[in-house]
Symmetry: C2
DNA sequence: CTAATAAATGAGATCGATCTCATTGCATTC
DNA sequence: GAATGCAATGAGATCGATCTCATTTATTAG
């Protein structure tokens, strides 16, 4: 691959002049500039970013780590990030921790070696995170996404999980539900899932209702969900459940219907996240919509500001309650489902 | 950030020795090695990949371009790619073309400037693609994913779309369906969607059935899908439709049900892709499963082989027919849906 | 037409790691 | 004790672009 030096030679100028023809064309006489451009054309010259990065000590690359791209909530965020980053001349190095805190460290170390200009991370646990403790000593700007801001001290982009979950709960309460449960995936270890549980408890208490102890599943598989159904058939009937994320809600809804229960007739199901697909299902998923694309864009723009050296304390982004057919009033219910 | 030179100084050795302590420890006397390691530790030395890349003329980075991460079929592939790449010491630069051929060129150029060791692309049109024509002149290994192998001349990872679609059609025919339609998204311009239409036509002809002219939607929105429903209510009733992808199938299914039609009672709906969510819906989506994760892994391994200089002509990966509740027999049908 | 000033260009260093080649040091052998 | 050999280390070049500073060329003024 042709480099600047060969272009310069062919054009009969020095490296410096050839470089200037590209980076500051107005410092170069038009005639000379043309000679350089022609030479570059002939040799199919393509500037080497690596050399530029080494020289300029900036890579224009953002390191991104999400738990998994199998969950659309992260994929949709990433899609928006990519567009926003590219619009600002940045590229993304994308990695997935597969929900494993131990991998988080290796991944981040690798990205630091690559000298990314900044990091956008979603970690398992923002407080008490090994990676974040390491990063605190580094100068590379780092921004959290979805993780609640907190002791970690890092700026964070996302919604107020506690408030959002409380809103979801109140929505059900307003519809007349009283026996409301919460179902969490295998990731209750996740900080945001816990906040969602908090919010639910808060809203329940506020309405004088009993927050049921939460159903936490060890794994998120079809079999596990199925096994959840009999577990729901005990003394007191639940009329609604909130799932800590949409994937879980959709799966649960499917299993309930498959087992012959009507949603929302016998049980209302609410999700959390607002993945795009939920809108198109029947019944459509009632959920808390996190503005995934907006979160992605805000993450990029905030990080770029941090890279420029600005101090950033982003405010939580607004969530929205997305009504959906998966939630109804409890009145019409003739349930056989029971509480735990 | 501390560099090797400062480590060398602190350790009282030359740069060369310090470098060797890391890259070929056995060439360095144990005592010296220790001095270097200690110095590195003290200075929090972190090797600079950029310098290594410039020197070694290899980045250990793979450039990936997919149309959009909003479609789980790409997100799931990418998830597997990331894990496979990391396992081999490679990183991914991820970009999205947003289905725009014009963006494809810029994106690939950018990745070439970054000197990625190889490219994994999903383009709009493999034959007659501007990007691929450019890349043909380059030495950077390039591999297509999902795009059918063809005139482009680039190796390609994916299933046999034509055969898979024919299998889907035959599945419906075997169940007794005769009036089978096909619904395509806004992307019939996409090469794979056309092959799927071909396969459908082929299987229909083979069974002596009439391949309906295909319904192509200009956009893939809820409103558009809704408008499709009356368009289906003409003279002859369809008993089944195949959608060119799962997202479309899921949305269609939702709209049909919302409009009061029973799936599969009045209309069987089949998808294509096999995104994970389809399994958990009710009715679960009957579809052609592309092995997304396997495709992602194969893409990485094949590309790495190409980078090593091996010639690669990967065989199509096997697809699978995933049975699902969205498809039934036409007998029980009391349809009001009609053909076009 | 020359002096003074501005514009254009070139030489060389730099970013950080690594490779080649030369040199030093130590040990083995006769 | 000198010679031969290998192990360990250092000096310097290299990867490709860009920046600083010096130098040359062009321009304007007097």
């Amino acid at each position: 691959m042709a480099d600047l030096l060969s272009v310069a030679k062919l054009a009969g100028v020095s490296r410096a002049t050839a470089a200037r023809a590209f980076s500051s064309p107005d410092l170069v006489r038009p005639a000379t500039r043309e000679k350089v451009f022609n030479a570059a054309q002939q040799l199919a010259f393509r500037p080497n970013k690596i050399a530029q990065q080494l020289r300029s000590q900036a890579t224009q690359m953002i390191g991104v780590m999400v738990p998994s791209l199998d969950n659309p909530v992260f994929a949709e965020q990433l899609q928006a990030m990519e567009v926003a980053a590219r619009a600002s001349g940045y590229s993304l190095i994308v990695t997935t921790s597969e929900y494993s805190p131990s991998r988080e460290g290796d991944i981040v170390e690798e990205m630091l070696r690559q000298r990314v200009d900044g990091l956008v991370l979603t970690v398992a646990e923002a407080d008490n995170s090994a990676v974040l403790n390491t990063l605190r000593l580094e100068t590379t700007p780092c921004l959290l996404v979805y993780n609640p801001p907190g002791k970690s001290g890092f700026p964070s982009i996302g919604v107020d999980n506690r408030a959002a979950s409380a809103d979801a709960t109140r929505h059900l309460i307003t519809l007349g539900h009283e026996r409301i449960g919460m179902v969490a995936g295998p990731l209750l270890q996740s900080d945001r899932a816990r906040l969602r549980f908090d919010g639910y408890c808060h809203a329940m208490g506020e309405a004088g209702l009993i927050a049921r102890s939460l159903v936490e599943m060890t794994r998120h598989t079809q079999a596990d969900l199925k096994s959840l159904i009999p577990a729901l058939q005990v003394p007191e009937a639940l009329s609604a459940v909130i799932c800590t994320n949409d994937l879980l809600a959709i799966s649960l809804m499917g299993e309930l219907q498959r087992a012959g229960f009507s949603v929302p007739g016998e049980l209302s199901v609410m999700g959390f996240d607002g993945i795009a697909l939920g809108k198109h299902l029947y019944p459509s998923l009632c959920t808390i919509e996190q503005p995934r694309a907006e979160i992605g864009r805000a993450a990029v723009h905030t990080l770029l500001a941090m890279i420029r050296g600005e101090k950033c304390t982003p405010a939580p982004l607004p969530h929205a309650l997305r009504k959906g057919e998966s939630v109804g009033t409890p009145t019409s219910r003739k349930s056989t489902l029971s509480t735990l």
